[in-house]
């Protein structure tokens, strides 16, 4: 069982970490390994490990091996803050990666200021993360506003007239509804209903019945993969046949195809990675290498849409450490600004975001629109 | 003497089951009255109605002229009507002394607001010392001083009964309802208890008992009220009740235990008459 294997590895690593080893450069990884986001967090950690092993195989950084200290934040913001504290003060990691969900990342952020340690944010999409004036935050995932901006040119081509929203009732979902809603209005598309659903909710037929009765042509959905599977099945059951576009980057199309079957046919998804068509990614060789290694380790292919973030995250951190020339938090923070390489989902270089003087770093990844057709992922021609 | 408690055409029904059909009697101040009847006659139900644990389906109970309808049990206690319980008569996890201290709850209620404040800042105060003295006096009075520091739940059954009485007396009632106070007591304990009942009356407390021990009932009561199948079938002084054909009939209809009870009652009366002669 892959997840079990990785968790055991994580413990072994954590155990190893308790013995002080000055000959390694430690990177703290703060991810949800239990709780509702356990699956995604585990994928990210596995991706991170591939990057770490790759770097170490090439001889490490600054003449030292890198070492990931992986901690579980239990999908809980309080725990995420506590874990950050432990990683920084107890394990003395000079840089962190985390913490998957926006609420988790937001909880960690004050700790970064307290201890002046930088963190690479690999998944969270809330706008707040880069606009609240935290100069220790560097994000490679797109906030929903950026996602909406990249999607804007496709709106007219899709022929959208009126869109309803069905979003997760949290920062992730509501943020997406706000940003996409604004963008759509600017493009002359009407915005109808904005329905929400709770994170753990399993039966959305009430919301879907309402959406079915509305006169819009498109439903924009923001949620994680498990709920998307449920939604597509329930839409099929209700005979709800409208254009569906999902956002947020946690969709995992392969899992959708495997679990929702033909119910997912025709659905469209905005993603930040194209593992199905490596030749269309910004760095095809790297993509293929990563996917090959992922499969070699016995992980399900479906996980790559999450795990590539962990992979790119650690690579970005490695670039920063190399540029910094030392493994000190202040030097790494400064060096993040000069990181510039091509990640699996586009160039990784940080632009300033947020209030002047204490800007956070935001990279601008590529966003792709894909469609599920006959059980396969295709890039629709618009 | 004036009426202290009047039960005015009270009826209790549980769904279709009639527990009390139409109960009507008075207790006068200073009396000792017993409520008797075969098992299931509705005696405990009557007690529960009088003390607010049960709402009657019809009729009303008045205590010192105040209607008790709708009053919760603790409010009725505060009017001066206290009771004991048939089965569980103590706070089992507390010491006997603390049991009585809990019973003195109302006596400590002089000025609740300032008291709560005193409590929080830690002033125990004179009030608390006075309560402890009261508790000691009450225990002494029922003869349990030696047991004061024992857990009430660990006492013998008869002693638990006494704790129950001390608790009820701690509320300084004008009238006390005793629910089968001597059941489970041996003969000598019962004798002591009868003396205690008389002493309670001497303090000016009116008593109403539910009891199965016929000799005891006959000995202690001024008046007896007999219930059967939720109906009042006889009322009067012990001698009259003992010979009432309706009462004998009611008890004959029951099992052998009840018959033995009535036989004992008659026997005890005979011996007492013999003693008088």
């Amino acid at each position: 069982m892959p997840s079990r294997f990785t968790v055991t590895t994580a413990i072994l690593l954590a155990l190893a970490a308790t013995g002080a080893r000055a000959d390694t450069i430690r990177i703290g990884v703060n991810e949800p390994l239990t709780g509702p986001f356990a699956a995604s967090g585990t994928y990210v950690v596995n991706g991170a490990k591939i990057a770490a092993d790759e770097i170490n195989a090439r001889g490490g950084l600054l003449g030292k091996k890198i070492e990931l200290i992986v901690e579980d934040n239990k999908s809980n913001p309080t725990e995420a803050a506590a874990v950050a504290e432990k990683l920084i003060t107890s394990d003395k990691t000079p840089v962190l990666m985390g913490a998957w969900g926006s609420s988790l990342t937001l909880a960690v952020m004050p700790k970064l200021i307290d201890y002046a340690v930088p963190m690479l944010v690999e998944t969270s999409s809330s706008g707040k993360i880069t606009t609240s004036g935290n100069p220790f935050v560097f994000r490679i995932s797109p906030p929903s506003a950026l996602e909406a901006e990249t999607f804007a040119p496709m709106v007219a081509k899709l022929g959208m007239k009126k869109a309803d929203f069905l979003v997760l009732n949290n920062d992730f979902g509501r943020g997406a509804a706000a940003d996409f809603g604004k963008m759509l209005k600017d493009k002359g598309v009407q915005v109808g209903l904005v329905e929400t659903m709770d994170q753990g909710a399993q039966d959305m037929s009430a919301q879907l019945s309402k959406l079915k009765a509305s006169d819009s042509d498109t439903i924009m959905i923001t949620s994680a993969v498990d709920q998307l599977v449920l939604l597509f099945k329930q839409m099929a059951a209700l005979g709800l046949k409208k254009r569906v576009i999902t956002t947020g980057g946690s969709q995992n199309p392969d899992q959708i195809i495997a679990q929702a079957g033909s119910a997912a046919d025709g659905t469209m998804h905005l993603t930040t990675f194209l593992p199905w068509l490596p030749e269309k990614t910004p760095d095809p060789q790297a993509t293929e290498r990563f996917i090959a290694e992922w499969k070699k380790r016995g992980f399900a292919f479906a996980g790559v849409t999450e795990s590539f973030r962990g992979y790119d995250g650690i690579r970005a951190i490695a670039h920063a450490i190399e540029k910094a020339g030392s493994a000190e938090p202040a030097a790494i923070t400064k060096a993040f600004w000069s990181v510039d390489f091509t990640g699996l989902n586009g160039p990784i270089r940080f632009a300033k975001a947020g209030p002047a003087g204490k800007e956070s770093g935001q990279s601008k990844p590529d966003v792709y629109l894909i469609e599920i057709k006959d059980g396969r992922v295709v890039v629709p021609t618009l | 003497m004036s009426v202290i408690l009047s039960v005015d055409h009270v009826g209790v029904r549980f769904g279709g089951l009639v527990a009390i059909a139409d109960l009507h009697f008075d207790v006068r101040e200073g009396e000792i009255v017993s409520l008797i009847g075969p098992n299931g006659a509705g005696k405990t139900t009557a007690f529960n109605v009088m003390t607010g644990f049960l709402k009657p389906s019809q009729g009303e109970v008045r205590f010192r002229g105040t209607g008790l309808a709708g009053l919760p049990p603790h409010a009725i206690t505060r009017l001066g009507l206290a009771r004991t319980f048939q089965r569980t008569s103590v706070f089992p996890d507390d010491t006997v002394f603390d049991n009585v201290m809990i019973g003195l709850h109302r006596q400590g209620a002089a000025a609740p607001r300032t008291r709560l404040l005193d409590t929080l800042i830690g002033r125990t105060g004179a009030g608390e010392r006075r309560l402890r003295a009261r508790a000691e006096a009450l225990l002494d009075w029922v003869g349990l001083s030696g047991r004061a520091q024992e857990k009430a739940g660990a006492l013998a059954y008869g002693e638990q009964r006494l704790v129950g009485v001390a608790l009820a007396l701690a509320t300084e009632p004008a009238m006390l309802l005793l629910d089968e106070p001597v059941s489970g007591m041996n003969a000598s304990e019962t004798r002591v208890f009868v003396r205690l009942i008389r002493q309670i009356r001497e303090r000016g407390v009116t008593l109403l008992l539910v009891e199965h021990d016929m000799p005891m009932v006959m000995e202690v009561s001024d008046r007896i009220v007999v219930l059967n199948y939720g109906r009042l079938i006889a009322e009067g002084p012990p001698e009259a009740i003992r010979n009432d054909p309706a009462v004998i009939e009611a008890y004959l209809g029951q099992g052998s235990a009840a018959r033995r009870a009535i036989a004992e009652a008659q026997q005890s009366a005979d011996t007492r008459e013999a003693a008088h002669a």
Binding site: M1, S209, K210, D226, K233 | L54
Partner: protein, 290 residues
């Protein structure tokens, strides 16, 4: 109007499984006086057993269902034997805490064994829904409703028509008297807990294919089961059955016409409202005191 009809159909479909969940919980409370905090975990176990049987063992869908239900029965019996029996005579709070401990352990064990990634159980029913006028219902959900109603009927028959049921009803009225009359109360306890657990597992096994299967799926189901049981009156089987449909109705209409964000709050608001108006539940009979 079409929307309303669709909501009512959804209610019916959802209500069947809610009722199933509620009945299992209320039985255990009524007969054993145990607030079963493993109910949600057993619901999860039922769903994973179904997944194992269908996806891993390749069993036929209709064969896998009884296997999962039987598995729930065995799990329930084991929990009663290993965890509840040593606490016989303990107060309701203690057994409740034992059940909380067992629930935590069971749920974490499923996470440990199966990992956090949700699993889907393939169903043999066609994807295209049954379309009647403006209303659509999936075949799978129709089957689930039928199966749930069938199981409820079976439970009723068991309670009202068998010797075991008679003994259970006797224990429900008064365990001490039942014991005096020769009823093996220990066996009844095991049977009751196993039955209640198998109903939870059945709900999980039926809903697993409808939704997806993941370790935390039981948490919300458990809270809803509590709501249903309170609605119907603790220990009242018929009340729980009706309570299931009422909760489903409230959720559907609440989400459909008020606000979908508060959908899951409906159940709890109902609980509070019911307890204010009729604290013993909507369908409780008058209780005898004294």
């Amino acid at each position: 109007m079409d929307q309303l009809i669709q909501h009512l159909v959804n209610t019916l479909i959802l209500g069947g499984t809610y009722a199933l969940l509620g009945i299992g919980l209320t039985l255990i409370f009524g007969i054993m006086n145990v607030v079963n905090f493993t109910h949600g975990a057993l619901y999860t176990v039922g769903a994973y057993l179904m997944y194992l049987a269908v996806a891993a063992l390749g069993l036929n869908f209709f064969l896998a269902l009884p296997v999962a239900i039987l598995g729930g029965l065995v799990f329930g019996a084991a929990i009663e034997r290993l965890l509840l029996r040593p606490f016989r005579g303990a107060d309701i709070d203690t057994t409740m805490l034992v059940m909380i401990g067992a629930g935590i352990a069971l749920q974490s064990a499923t996470l440990w064994i199966f990992g956090g990634v949700a699993k889907a159980i393939p169903s043999p029913f066609p994807e295209a829904p049954l379309q009647i006028g403006p209303v659509s219902v999936s075949w799978l959900r129709l089957f689930v409703l039928g199966a749930a109603l069938g199981l409820i009927a079976l439970t009723y028959a068991l309670i009202n028509g068998t010797k075991l049921g008679l003994a259970m009803r006797a224990a429900f009225q008064d365990a001490d008297t039942a014991a005096l009359m020769g009823v093996n109360v220990r066996l009844i306890d095991t049977a009751t807990f196993a039955l209640g657990s198998s109903l939870a597992a059945a709900a999980g096994a039926l809903l697993g294919p409808v939704y997806v299967v993941f370790p935390q799926m039981g948490g919300l189901a458990e809270l809803k089961a509590f709501a249903i049981v309170i609605l119907g009156g603790l220990g009242n089987v018929t009340g729980a059955a009706i309570g299931g449909f009422i909760l489903a109705l409230a959720e559907e209409l609440g989400a459909g016409y008020i606000s979908s964000g508060y959908r899951d709050a409906m159940g709890f608001l109902i609980i509070i409202a019911v307890l204010l108006v009729k604290p013993t539940g909507l369908f409780a009979k008058a209780e005898r005191i004294g």
